[in-house]
Subunit: 382 residues, 2 copies
Amino acid sequence: MNYTAALAILCCLFICRLKEAEGADKKLRFGENGEFRILQVADMHFADGKTTRCLDVLPSQYRSCSDLNTTSFIQRMILAEKPHLIVFTGDNIFGFDSSDSAKSMDKAFAPAIASNIPWVAILGNHDQEGSLSREGVMKYIVTMKNTLSKLNPPQVHLIDGFGNYNLQVGGVEGSSFENKSVLNLYFLDSGDYSKVPFIPGYGWIKPSQQLWFQRTSQKLQKEYKRAPLPQKQSAPGLAYFHIPLPEYASFDSSNFTGVKQEPISSASVNSGFFTTLVEAGDVKAVFTGHDHVNDFCGQLTGIHLCYAGGFGYHAYGKAGWSRRARVVVANLEKTENGAWLDVKSIKTWKRLDDQHLTGIDAQVLWSKSFSGNRRKRDDGGS
Amino acid sequence: MNYTAALAILCCLFICRLKEAEGADKKLRFGENGEFRILQVADMHFADGKTTRCLDVLPSQYRSCSDLNTTSFIQRMILAEKPHLIVFTGDNIFGFDSSDSAKSMDKAFAPAIASNIPWVAILGNHDQEGSLSREGVMKYIVTMKNTLSKLNPPQVHLIDGFGNYNLQVGGVEGSSFENKSVLNLYFLDSGDYSKVPFIPGYGWIKPSQQLWFQRTSQKLQKEYKRAPLPQKQSAPGLAYFHIPLPEYASFDSSNFTGVKQEPISSASVNSGFFTTLVEAGDVKAVFTGHDHVNDFCGQLTGIHLCYAGGFGYHAYGKAGWSRRARVVVANLEKTENGAWLDVKSIKTWKRLDDQHLTGIDAQVLWSKSFSGNRRKRDDGGS
């Protein structure tokens, strides 16, 4: 299928999705089937398109392989999953190999824009390595068509990084939860590289960002528990950023779903964001990219820590090990008389870029019936 | 020596210190000998005084041992070290065994007040277990005589805990550094117990406190590098709080000075304050209490992490292992013609509550000539 034909099909197919999404500048909400579906695209590493070659593919694939394979994979994923939101979790472009960062982004995000599905992007550690600065890249993204990305929240205090924002997902139109955010999405800039002489390696989420997240989460939880329709529990939240937290290293194959084929490339220090997430209490899962050949989800202290697995073809990977994407689906509870309520469960799976877009590793991330407050254990001694 | 006599001697002896300290409500500054000396008193666990018995002392000591032994030890330490500032690092009173929290504090801090030396206190995890809340304890402390303690900084944002503040120590009066803060002291409330259902154990320093620390440190460093007398390096800083950071567990006897006789009772999660300290760059050493039979100092990523060792007699300890206190001394650089400049070195030692107040484990924590920016190593891969 050529590029123009694929775009035409996408445009037709998602004319109905347009209504659900209510246009990209309006509020996100659950579909009339009580579902909200998110496609995560991690590490596209897009450069110049057709002339940018693939890395780590089989010799038989190499000759015809370029950035356009990444484009085609997004198009196929959109057709297969019909997401309500597409989340690009950084290293969207590979700045070093891009002739023009803006043009690379135009090409990289084109399938999302063409689909008319709302989309967001956050920054990785490579996005700023081309003709635009980190701020420049994010400022460009927020002007693009159909995106809900934001540069930063309205400032109560100055915030580190570019692209820290949250999105609320309303209940089904016409339902009692129509005007409540039943699912909260947090997007953060996990930085690029350490700027501190004594600390080597990657960046991390700073106190200013954590305070913003904490205050936002508190505000949303308070609103959810307030009239009209006051709720006892908080609405579940999902957090997306690029660089995995140090706590991703807590797992082995005995307690995660997926694979770990390389070390966890978190920052070399712990900046405490996992603690802040646990304390906030609403975020049920974290989704990162960065390590292309890790794709697992493991649960720690009530929070799932998930990789998407590498998506892009101009990014390191493993020849013969398919590029992949992660899908998250939240489903609402339904009353006996068919009315939609709040979120009942959140599931995830991945799809491989093979002939059938094979789905793998389906798992439940959170379920209302299984949640509840475990009792606090104070084992302090001194 | 009885209590009244000791107080009288203290009053006489430190009449000269009064001038250096310029009264407790004025700015701290280095003495005319180019020295600033801090006495740290950790975990007094004071309750009702004479009727409150000692824990973990030898059978021969038990009969006559009470909170007054703690009082006597402070008096002797003040006489021996003549500090410019006394820092009480939490668990100052043991609320559970105190009939009246305010009266316990009156007694606990009495030797410091009588000495006319400026003093500060921060909260531990036991201070609020009596008749006053955590806020109530700190509010009481800030009204006491000669204290430089503060409830919280003037708020740019709401801050967690009670007793987060900083103090500046000016250069020698009449020297070129007279109006610059050449040593910065940070005091933080490390909390009591986790309030989060899924996180057991002790409290931790929250993002709001870390952001305050970060902004304060940035402001002080900027001022130090500004005219008049603009400096190239930042002035060294010292941080005091009660509960050790998880990074205290990074050491063993091969790389610390002192002893580790019990596990590190940090919070069960890492809230990232060590990362924030390293990033800020000015703090050269951290001083905590909490674990009474650990008294070591170890260096990690350019920052010394130090315990004081248990001071109080109504606190668990180890019979036959002396109660102890930590002293920190900062010394200024002197020009060839005898003028005092900025801080040249920071040293520490401990003193044991034995007949001779034996000094042990003297070590250099920081020295201007040995500092400098190691080159950043960016070993990021993906």
